[in-house]
């Protein structure tokens, strides 16, 4: 390999520049300022469906708006007091709906921010990466269980740390405790999936209860990573989960092997229904790991992915050890 080196004469050589500034440098560990706002989402090309949905949305909003105006107008026709009451009711209703919309939008923006950081990591320059990690830290800090972890991360991050350094510290100080919380949530959900399958009288009820618990687990995990997804956020997450079908297939294969192994080692003394329940728990755990991968602002590094075997075996141990 050859190295292109600028000729000595054209190169800016080392030099010392005097300044008028006096006084010592303050090299204490600084507290990082709180990012003032979330970065806007990246612009995307408009799809026909999005344009149509926007148009229909405007139509619905206009119809509702006109109806509301007519409603208030009609109320005033019956008397001022009734009109004021109607107007107040409409304002309250619109405020509630607006609040819900803003919450939905913020939830969606947080999800997108985490996804943007994941995309940025392989290509970002140092300062850009540090800024994005700062945004991700601000998002995760909203979880009260992780606020302290974020503070610790901010306390150890120094200006001389590069973007990669910041990423490693963020993984070590913030994401590791978040992962542990998520794993606890997964274990809890898997235990409940085990129980649901064991006591459910019909397959349909079993499926419905499993789906409801899975939905709650996804939202719980998203909240652990500071995302608090609303309806739109949850739909977005589910869409991403479904699009990860290839990954699901891979995990299914692992799950199959696991069940075979467990069947040989543990379940020879248990009934077939207990084995099915264990499989349901394993499916729930697998779903939880996928949700973790989606909600984490930083992709799993080798060795960080929670082991399905450990999650399920820990769950079985707890289930079997439980007295009574």
């Amino acid at each position: 390999m050859t190295t292109q080196i600028e000729p000595a004469r054209e190169r800016v050589g080392p030099r010392v520049i005097e300044t008028e500034k006096t006084g010592r440098l303050e090299l204490g560990v600084p507290a990082l300022p709180e990012p003032s706002r979330l970065s806007p989402p990246s612009l995307r090309s408009h799809s026909p469906i999005a344009v149509a949905a926007t148009g229909i949305g405007i139509l619905v909003a206009s119809v509702v708006g006109i109806d509301l105006v007519q409603f208030i107008d009609g109320a005033f026709a019956h008397g001022t007091e009734l009109g004021v009451t109607a107007a107040a009711a409409v304002v309250a209703g619109c405020g509630g709906a607006g609040y819900w919309l803003v919450a939905e939008l913020r939830g969606l923006l947080r999800l997108r921010s985490a996804e943007r950081l994941r995309r940025l990591i392989p290509v970002a320059v140092s300062s850009e990466l540090k800024r994005e990690i700062g945004v991700a830290a601000a998002i995760v800090a909203r979880d009260r269980l992780l606020a302290e972890a974020v503070e610790r991360y901010r306390a150890v991050l120094e200006p001389h740390h590069s973007g990669r350094d910041a990423l490693e510290l963020f993984s070590r100080f913030v994401l590791a405790p978040a992962d542990r919380l998520a794993e606890t949530a997964i274990r809890r959900a898997a235990t409940q999936a085990f129980a649901i399958n064991a006591v459910s009288p019909t397959a349909l009820l079993d499926t419905l209860l499993f789906a409801a618990r899975a939905m709650r687990l996804i939202r719980e995990i998203a909240e652990i990573y500071g995302q608090r997804p609303g309806l739109a956020g949850t739909v977005h997450l589910l869409r991403r989960l479904i699009s990860g079908a290839g990954l699901v297939g891979a995990v299914d294969l692992v799950g199959g092997v696991l069940v075979q192994q467990l069947g040989g080692a543990v379940f020879e003394r248990l009934s077939a229904s207990a084995a099915e329940s264990a499989y349901a728990a394993q499916k729930m755990a697998r779903l939880g790991i996928l949700a973790m991968a989606l909600c984490r602002p930083v992709d799993f590094q080798p060795g960080e992915i929670p082991s399905l075997r450990r999650l399920v075996s820990g769950l079985l141990k707890r289930t079997l050890d439980r007295p009574g």
Binding site: R11, V16, T19, K21, L27, P159, F173
Partner: protein, 483 residues
């Protein structure tokens, strides 16, 4: 030195005999690790040792300033204490004095090392992994473990004596003459060479003549260091005597000996040779034994920037000096068999020091240059299955990054307060090449390499000392011992 926190967790003498028995965790994890801090003069050994020990003490119960050291980040370091030196031949490393120098107003650099000094630091920690608090084995084994880190500090010049152990007087003499007649050394060696030109090696061995020749040679070495910033200057004790009991054993120097000729008995050359051999036997050999025996880990500190700015010859000289010094150390993975036949160094870290003189964007360049500079020793260590890495670090960070415009170009600079100065300066270190530069790279020598005032630190141990990458260096050197 303030008392480390959490000393209450250390074993108490009031406990019963049962409690004094080592726990399973202690049996598995307790260990003494000898760290060789290797570096030429002014490479920053004293600053490194001071910062290392003070920051490890500051990491008790929290990450302190060492977030990349996993045991500190996970708050597994429970207590730290400085132990008394167990070696009669070396004195205690003056850690309290060095910390006081950095905490003074204005702060100043600790004085350079003039003799052998030892520091022993005991870290009580809670193991992670298999013996961790969360694992079943950890719950069963319980207890904490203790890692004792032993570090030796010494004048960097002395390292250059290690290669003498493999050389005869005639070999060394010839090599030194070849060096002295070349490049930047030649004009500085003129007085010494002229003195010897008037005296044959076979002339009678007069002690007075030997002393005069020695003084001229020593002055030549000192000029090489101060004027040309050269590194390969032997013997090292000529520039830093330490506590050498008998100064007369140093009164020798190279003399011109034809190839294949041995010094004639009773001649000047024979007198010089006899003193050279005594020097090797009584000074160099014991120092080497202290330094290299039982070493588990090694960090090699190199002031690459100063050599880079001092010019092509100083840079090449530093590289040569490093190569011949490192040839004296034995690398290899730890194994029971090797422990029986003498321990080996299983992890080596090459570190370019004073990286706070370089803005953040160029620190990767400095690291790459460091790695390229020590390519030969790295290959040797890897062949012996040692783990090797290169990094750039600042044991004590004195600057901040900023941007300036020089000759119409926007460049990254560092800002700091110069030692003994009142106004801050902005320093642009030039473009750091990632490989040893070719001849076309070298411009004019830059001799005004700034010395920045160290930051004023708090006397409280938990505040630590600001640094760059010290924690990463410690993670490489100690992570497995604190696992």
């Amino acid at each position: 030195m303030p008392a480390p926190r959490n000393d209450r967790r250390l074993p108490s003498l009031e406990r019963g005999w049962l409690d004094k028995l080592p726990t399973l965790t202690a049996l598995v994890h307790d260990r003494t690790l000898r760290l060789a801090v290797t570096g030429l003069s002014h490479s920053g050994k004293t600053a490194f040792i001071t910062s290392l020990v003070h920051n490890l003490v500051s990491a008790v119960g929290g990450p302190g300033r060492l977030p990349f050291l996993r045991a500190a980040a996970e708050r597994r370091i429970l207590a730290a204490r400085i132990l008394a030196s167990d070696d009669n031949t070396s004195s205690q490393f003056p850690l309290p004095e060095n910390v006081a120098a950095l905490a003074a107003d204005p702060p100043h650099w600790p004085p350079g090392t003039t003799d052998l000094r030892q520091v022993r630091l005991a870290l009580r920690f809670s193991p992670g992994g298999l013996f961790g608090r969360r694992s079943p084995i950890g719950l069963l084994a319980r207890g904490t473990a203790e890692l004792t880190i032993e570090i030796l500090d010494y004048p960097g010049e002395w390292l250059l004596d290690l290669p003498l152990l493999r050389q005869t007087y005639t070999e060394w003499s010839r090599a030194m003459f070849n060096l002295a007649r070349r490049g930047a050394r030649a004009p500085l060696a003129r007085d010494w060479l002229e003195f010897l030109a008037g005296r044959s090696a076979d002339s009678p061995g007069d002690p007075q003549t030997a002393l005069q020749a020695h003084n001229l040679y020593r002055d030549f070495l000192a000029a090489c260091r101060t004027k040309e910033q050269l590194s390969l200057l032997q013997p090292g004790r000529f520039l830093n005597r330490g506590q050498t009991a008998d100064a007369s054993m140093l009164w020798f120097c190279p003399v011109p000996l034809p190839v294949g000729r041995q010094p004639r008995p009773g001649s000047l050359a024979a007198l010089m040779e006899a003193r050279f051999e005594i020097y090797k036997r009584t000074i160099v050999q014991p120092f080497f034994e202290q330094l290299a025996q039982g070493v588990d880990r090694q960090i090699v500190l190199v002031d690459v920037l100063r050599a880079l700015n001092a010019g092509e010859e100083a840079f090449a000289d530093q590289r040569l000096a490093l190569d011949i010094i490192l040839a004296a150390f034995r690398f290899g993975r730890r194994s029971l068999l090797r422990l029986l036949f003498g321990a080996r160094i299983d992890r080596v870290l090459f570190a370019a020091t004073k990286s706070d003189h370089v803005p953040a964007l160029q620190r990767d360049h400095l690291e790459a240059l460091m790695a390229n500079l020590v390519e030969a020793p790295t290959l040797r260590a890897r062949a012996a299955r040692s783990r090797v890495a290169a990094t750039s670090l600042a044991s004590i960070r004195c600057t901040e990054d900023d941007i300036d415009v020089i000759d119409g170009r926007k460049v990254d600079v560092v800002v700091g307060l110069p030692e003994h100065g009142e106004r801050q300066i902005r320093f642009f270190p030039g473009i750091i090449p990632v490989t040893p530069p070719p001849s076309g790279f070298w411009g004019e020598r830059f001799t005004e390499f700034p010395v920045f005032q160290p930051p004023r630190i708090g006397r409280a141990a938990e505040q630590g000392i600001p640094h760059i990458n010290l924690d990463k260096a410690l993670a490489f050197l100690l992570e497995d011992a604190l696992a």
